[in-house]
Each structure stands twice: as structure tokens, then as C-alpha cells.
């Protein structure tokens, strides 16, 4: 079973970190095949940013898909640009603090989470990506939650004081995701 997902947003929203955290944590804690593929362009600050994560129990072909199971959009332009790449029956994850427009497709499942606002509310504005990752894992069970918790512990091993707030943020998202499963 292969699962293709894409995460897209503004630079600075932690899009790459979110994808990498999911992919690396999966690589470390499971024996699944996993790829992380960042879009890359000319080095530039403040542009749009996106990445692909593929998780599979079989060898992975292209690490990129235009026929996605899951699409996470953190801003409006990403929604408009990448929504056509979500396959019918796929799931769209929307950062509803930033993306306020209506989604004009009725053949997909939509999971909304005000990730930016939630991050601000817990005084950890940079954690919006970890919250969104929680929402994603909660709604899809793409990987067991412990995988990501371990991944967060690993990622912040040099800054241990950041582990707890990020695990908390992740679990907050997880809860919200499960509610919309």
C-alpha cells in the first residue's frame, strides 16, 4: 500500500520540516519505504515551498505524484495551485486560519484545522507545522503516533527543552485530526 502526500505553503511555515519530520520519523521507527522530495528553485527567501512524502510497504517509484492521496495546504496560493493534483476520494488538509476560501470540490474529504491560530494560542507560533502534522496523523493513521513523538525527540535532542512543547502541540493536532477522521 503506497501513500502519496504533498505539503505546500509559504517559506517560513515549516513546510519542509513537517515533511522531513514525517518521513525521517517513519524511516527510523518502521521498516517501511519512505521518500522525501523537496521542490527546489532558485535560492530565495519568502517564496512558496512544497515537498512530497511517499510511504509504502513496496519499493517506491517516483517520489513525486500529481495524483495525491493527501494534500496539506498552509496558504491560499497552494490550495489553488495544487488542488487539481488531489485524486478523487483523497483528503485535503487545510490550515483554516490562513486559507479562508471555499474549496470547490465535492469528491474529496476535507479536514480543516486553524493551525496558525492554535500555535499562537499556545504561545508557540512556530509549532503550526507540528500541529498540522498531528492533524494529518490523527485523521489518517498514516503512521502510529509514537513514530512522530520519537521523531520529535530525535529532532530536538540537542535542545531538550523544546521536546515537550512540540510533543504537546503535535498531540493537540492529533486530537483535532481524530475528531475529523
Amino acid at each position: 500500500m503506497e501513500r502519496n502526500m504533498m505539503i505546500a505553503g509559504f517559506g517560513g511555515q515549516g513546510v519542509m520540516t513537517m515533511g522531513k519530520l514525517l518521513a525521517e520519523a517513519t524511516s527510523q521507527a518502521t521498516d517501511l519505504n519512505v521518500t522525501f522530495f523537496p521542490s527546489y528553485g532558485a535560492a530565495m527567501r519568502g517564496g512558496t515551498s512544497n515537498c512530497y512524502v511517499v510511504i509504502s510497504d513496496e519499493p517506491i517509484g517516483a517520489p513525486v505524484s500529481y495524483n495525491l492521496e493527501d494534500l496539506v495546504v498552509m496558504n491560499g496560493p497552494s490550495l489553488r495551485k495544487f488542488l487539481p493534483n488531489l485524486k478523487p476520494g483523497g483528503t485535503l488538509f487545510v490550515n483554516s486560519t490562513i486559507v479562508t476560501e471555499e474549496v470547490e470540490r465535492d469528491d474529496i474529504k476535507i479536514v480543516k484545522a486553524p493551525a496558525t491560530q492554535m500555535a499562537i494560542d499556545i504561545n508557540n507560533p512556530r509549532a503550526l507545522n507540528v500541529i498540522m502534522l498531528g492533524v494529518y496523523v490523527g485523521a489518517t493513521d498514516a503512521v502510529p503516533e509514537e513514530v512522530i513523538v520519537k521523531g520529535i525527540e530525535h529532532k530536538f535532542q540537542a535542545k531538550p527543552h523544546l521536546i515537550e512543547p512540540n510533543v504537546d502541540a503535535f498531540k493537540m493536532g492529533l486530537e483535532l485530526g481524530r475528531q475529523q477522521k
Binding site: 519512505v34 521518500t35 522525501f36 532558485a42 517509484g61
Partner: protein, 359 residues
Amino acid sequence: MAERVFMKGTEAIAEAAVRAGCRFFAGYPITPQNEIPEYMARRLPEVGGSFVQGESEVASVNMLYGAASTGIRAMSSSSSCGISLYSEGVSYCASARIPMVYVNVQRGGPGIGAIQPAQQDYLQATKASGNGGFRMIVLAPDSVQECVDMVYEAFDLAERDQNPVLLLTDGVMGTMMEPVVLPEMRSDEELKAFREKFMPRAIVGHPLGQQAFCRPGSVGDGQEQENIKAAAMYETWDKDVRVEEYMMDDAEIVFAAYGISARISRAVLRELRKQGIKAGMIRPITVSPFPYDAFRNLDFDRVKGIIDVEMSIPAQMRWDIDFAVQNRVPVKEVLRSGGQLLTNDQVMNGAMEFIKEVL
């Protein structure tokens, strides 16, 4: 078993090279391979090696030529239009029979092309990477793990043949992260032994009468004699041909692809199998020497067609396929180029069109 780590292709290549004993790297910035020189700039000083950011690709490959001529394990990397500028130095290394390793993380072309991935340097890589008609072993990995294993082995092949070895990969493999198991670090003793073997030829200074002369060319009939020796060495490469024949036992539809295109084709043909279509794949792992026999020896009564999948327009590996197949079955091309990525769906669609025609 060693732990698997999650690494970007370019960084995995760099670490594997260091573990293989690479102690000199020169390179010039070009996307999408910048992480290789950046990694080397951090890593090589830790192991007593030397990193130089060359003033150009031309300078970098000539630094590589100089460093490798002292018997040290040396490497460089670049991408497509940068690799064009390597022609001079690679040709010199081949002429002087200097072992060295270089990496092409291919991007779109021709010209400056696109910084996004492509496979548009196949003919250059396999047929004429510089003037003079020399040949090289060219390895084409299809995963980050193979990138690692092949760059590690490339140094041994280069030393065995006293010839350059090229790792031909692309911007997908270069920027993609995948789980990978890294090889053991070559010990200082091993590296010393490698260098000791080369020492009589190494241009490091010798006692009078034992002059080491690194000769990238010669006068009189010397050059022809060198070419005859090199040609004889190329002839020994039949044993080095590597090819993956995947699900070929009963295949009626044969994908032909290397590198990134091969891994995509593999995923697609597994889907086709689920639909009852007998698909298989021939994946050249060494694109030079090319596995012609894998194509020549196909059962042409059974095989109904070949699908050549490449991220290049026009197709390039097609030349080698045609050379072996000689029109005995139809060949369909599924191609993208200029930095446009192939996806599983595109290959599937192309394959289905063809299958309807030939089955």
C-alpha cells in the same frame, strides 16, 4: 546490520565517498548538486582531507586531475552544463590513466537548461565525455542506497582500471531523501595500501632515475600505443556489465529504463502485473558498458514490445536499445525533459496506449 539513516542523495554520496577514502574534493556551485561540495567542505577536514571550491568547473576538474595524480582518492561532482566543462579534465585523466571518480547530478538541458531533474546527458556520459574516444565505466543508480554503494565501489573500479569512473545520477535522486545504510569507513591502513600501489606513478617527487611522469598524451607512436592499451582494457569490461532483469521470465512488455526512470517503471509494471499484463524491465545498471546482451537475447517470439522510459527528449538510451534490438519488436518512447518530472501515472498512461496497440 548497520543502522539505516535518512539521508539526502547528494549528502549520502558525499559521506559514502569519504568512507570509501576520498580525501580530496574540488567543485564549483551548481544546482542541484550543491550539497555535495557543501558536505565535503565540512567533512573532509575532519578526516585530514582537502576541499577546494574551484573558480570554475574547468579548474575543479583539473584540480581533481592533479590531486588524483598523487595517488590520493579524489572526487568531484557537478551537473549537466557544468559537466560539459569537465570534458577537458576527464579526457586528460583518461589519457594519463588517472583513477578518479566524478558525479553528474543531471538537470535539464541543453544549454543552461533547467535546474530541475532530467536524464539528458546519457549519450555524453556513455559515449563521449571528452575528446579522443576514451571510455569509462558509468554507473547509474536508481536509489539513494545505490548511489551510496556505487560511489563507494567506484573508487575501487577506478583504481583497478586506472581510469575515471562516472556516477550518473539526476536531480531527483540528488535532492530526494531516503533511508540508507552507509558502508564501513575505509581504514587508514587500507588507504595507505591503495596509495602505495600507485606510488611509482604518483607525481610527488622521486629519487633521481625513478621519475614519475603522468603522461596525458605523447609524441610519435606513443599515443597510439597508449590507445591500444586502453582499448584492450575496455575489452575486459564484459565481466563488468551489470543489469537488473526484473520480472522478465514471462514478460511480453519490456520496460527499458535506467536511474530514476527505472524505479518509476518498476512501480508501474507491478501495477500492470496486478492487471494481468506480463510486464518486465531491463534496467542497465552500468550504462557503460551497456548490457546489449540483455536485449539481444530477448525471446522475440514472446516479447511484444519495448517501452523506453527516459527523462530526455529526444530519447538517448534508445540508440543503444535499437543497436541491440534491430527492429525485431516495436519500441515505444515515454519521455519527459527540460526539468519536467516523470510520474508513475504518466508512465502508466504511456504504457497502456502502447499495450493496446501491441497486445
